[in-house]
């Protein structure tokens, strides 16, 4: 599994899911934009949401590809990002064999998930600590970028900066970096563990 990381695929189908009001679609848009404008790939984002302005199930599907994207919907995500338990339950069965699951550890009870690669972060809690609960999505995006490398850090940060409300750029970049750092730390921890383990085995 971990070997993959260095050689991360450049075509990715990402589903981000959560509640209305968490900024799921914005996260998807930043991701797509980073890929398309920053990393100069093709990318498409489709969203799905219900009649509720807040609290309803909501998802963003981002396809990142080197080739032109015909069909923008995702039946089997390579990467699934969950910010609600409902979203997790809905999509977890569809993830590809060697897919990646990322979730907010306070909002999702992902115990039973059978996914090869799993990352979690207390994004909402961290956002609350920053005093901006609605920046959980940006923290998550930082984390996502760090652990998946589906988009470049630079592209991601640039996309964050132009996508958030004027005046909040700095705070959002800070939130992004927080998520990012958490991701890098997680990776480091795992590498260590893996090395340790490998060491133990070899």
């Amino acid at each position: 599994m971990i070997e993959n990381k260095k050689n991360r695929r450049t075509n990715n189908r990402v589903i981000i899911t959560g509640f209305g009001g968490q900024g799921i679609v914005l996260a998807g848009r930043i991701l797509g934009q980073a890929a398309a404008l920053g990393d100069r790939k093709e990318s498409s984002l489709v969203q799905s949401y219900g009649p509720e302005s807040r609290g309803g199930a909501c998802s963003a599907q981002v396809v990142i590809s080197d080739a032109l994207i015909h069909y923008p919907y995702i039946n089997h995500p390579d990467i699934l990002v969950c910010m609600s338990h409902g979203g997790f339950e809905k999509y977890i069965g569809q993830i590809v064999q060697n897919g990646v699951l990322i979730f907010d550890q306070d909002l999702v009870r992902a115990s039973k998930a059978e996914v090869s690669e799993i990352y979690s972060i207390p994004a909402t809690r961290m956002a609350e600590e920053l005093g901006r609960k609605m920046m959980a999505n940006i923290i998550m995006l930082g984390f996502f970028t760090a652990v998946t490398k589906a988009i470049s850090m630079k592209a991601a940060q640039e996309a964050v900066a132009v996508s958030v409300p004027k005046g909040t750029e700095e705070l959002n970049i800070k939130a992004f970096n927080k998520g990012c750092d958490y991701g890098l730390a997680t990776l480091k921890g795992r590498e260590k563990k893996a090395t340790g383990k490998a060491g133990a085995i070899s």
Binding site: G21, P51, E52, S53, R54, G55, G56
Partner: protein, 281 residues
């Protein structure tokens, strides 16, 4: 899970209005802090208080967040098209005059696209009760300016401020011929409930405007947290029954006048039609 402060918990705790709501559809779609639920709940309490046969109450809504009310009330209920709740309700009332017809809908529904139906139903003194949830914007479509949005207020379509002046709804109702006109906020719940009950018990076209927060779309863009809005309702309102409708435009700086402004008796459309057209056998 149900919490209580009592050891004597009843076995099946049940909200006193559960018999009037479609509990299988709760929680409703309204956002946290949205005032529609409170206005709706007040309306249900008022319906109960009349003591009238519940089978004979009909709720009609248009389209909008407020318009979703019809989907939650456990009465015969109709969720129609945007703006057309009043003519639909008119058809119901004329089709079966025994029914008590309540229109519960939003300011955009009733006064933007639906404004013409409102003034004509009032003119006819159609025997229905119209409750307008005025949250100063189009909530459902994401917070565009409405015909009730204050001058210079922000919305997704008036990002620098609304260039238009809002309607004074009670004045419009009065000018059109409504025989009962009142305004409350969702914080003035007991007044509101009493007012709705009074309107339901009264013949003719009754209109009640209920100010409610839309924290997600209106509040957020105009720097009002839900509790800020409620504070405005508490601090910057003046109850003045019988106020001249032409003096009750909404201006929270001056203070918003609440109360019952019109309460007249005029023959209803049905009474006049019957008198003229059914007198001769």
């Amino acid at each position: 899970m149900v919490q209580t402060n009592s050891r004597l918990q009843t076995k099946d705790p049940c909200h006193p209005l559960d018999d009037l709501i479609r509990t299988d559809r709760i929680p409703h779609i309204w956002c946290s802090g949205c005032g529609i639920g409170t206005a709706f709940s007040s309306c249900l309490t008022a319906i109960k208080s009349t003591g009238f046969d519940l089978k004979k109450f009909i709720m009609v809504s248009g389209i909008g967040c407020s318009g979703r009310a019809a989907g939650y009330v456990k009465l015969d209920s109709f969720h129609t098209t945007h703006g057309r709740a009043i003519p639909f309700a008119t058809g119901i009332k004329l089709g079966n005059p025994e029914l008590n017809v309540i229109v519960f809908s939003g300011d955009g529904d009733l006064f933007a696209i639906g404004g013409n139906h409102f003034i004509h139903a009032a003119r006819r003194n159609m025997d229905i009760t119209v409750i307008c949830v005025n949250n100063l914007n189009y909530g459902m479509t994401g917070g565009q300016a409405a015909a009730t949005t204050p001058y210079k207020a922000k919305s997704t379509t008036t990002t620098l401020g609304n260039p238009e002046d809002p309607f004074n709804l009670p004045l419009m109702a009065y000018a059109s011929g409504a025989t009962y006109v009142a305004r409350w906020t969702m914080l003035h719940i007991r007044d509101l409930t009493d007012s709705i009950e009074e309107a339901l018990s009264k013949k003719g076209f009754s209109f009640i405007e209920v100010l409610t927060p839309c924290p997600i779309n209106y509040g957020r863009r105009n720097k009002e947290k839900p509790l800020d809005t409620l504070k405005l309702y508490q601090d910057n309102t003046i109850i003045k029954n019988g106020a001249n409708p032409s003096e009750v435009d909404i201006d929270f700086e001056k203070g918003v006048i609440l109360g019952k402004f019109v309460d007249e008796d005029r023959p209803t459309h049905g009474e006049k039609y019957d008198m003229i057209y059914r007198a001769v056998s």
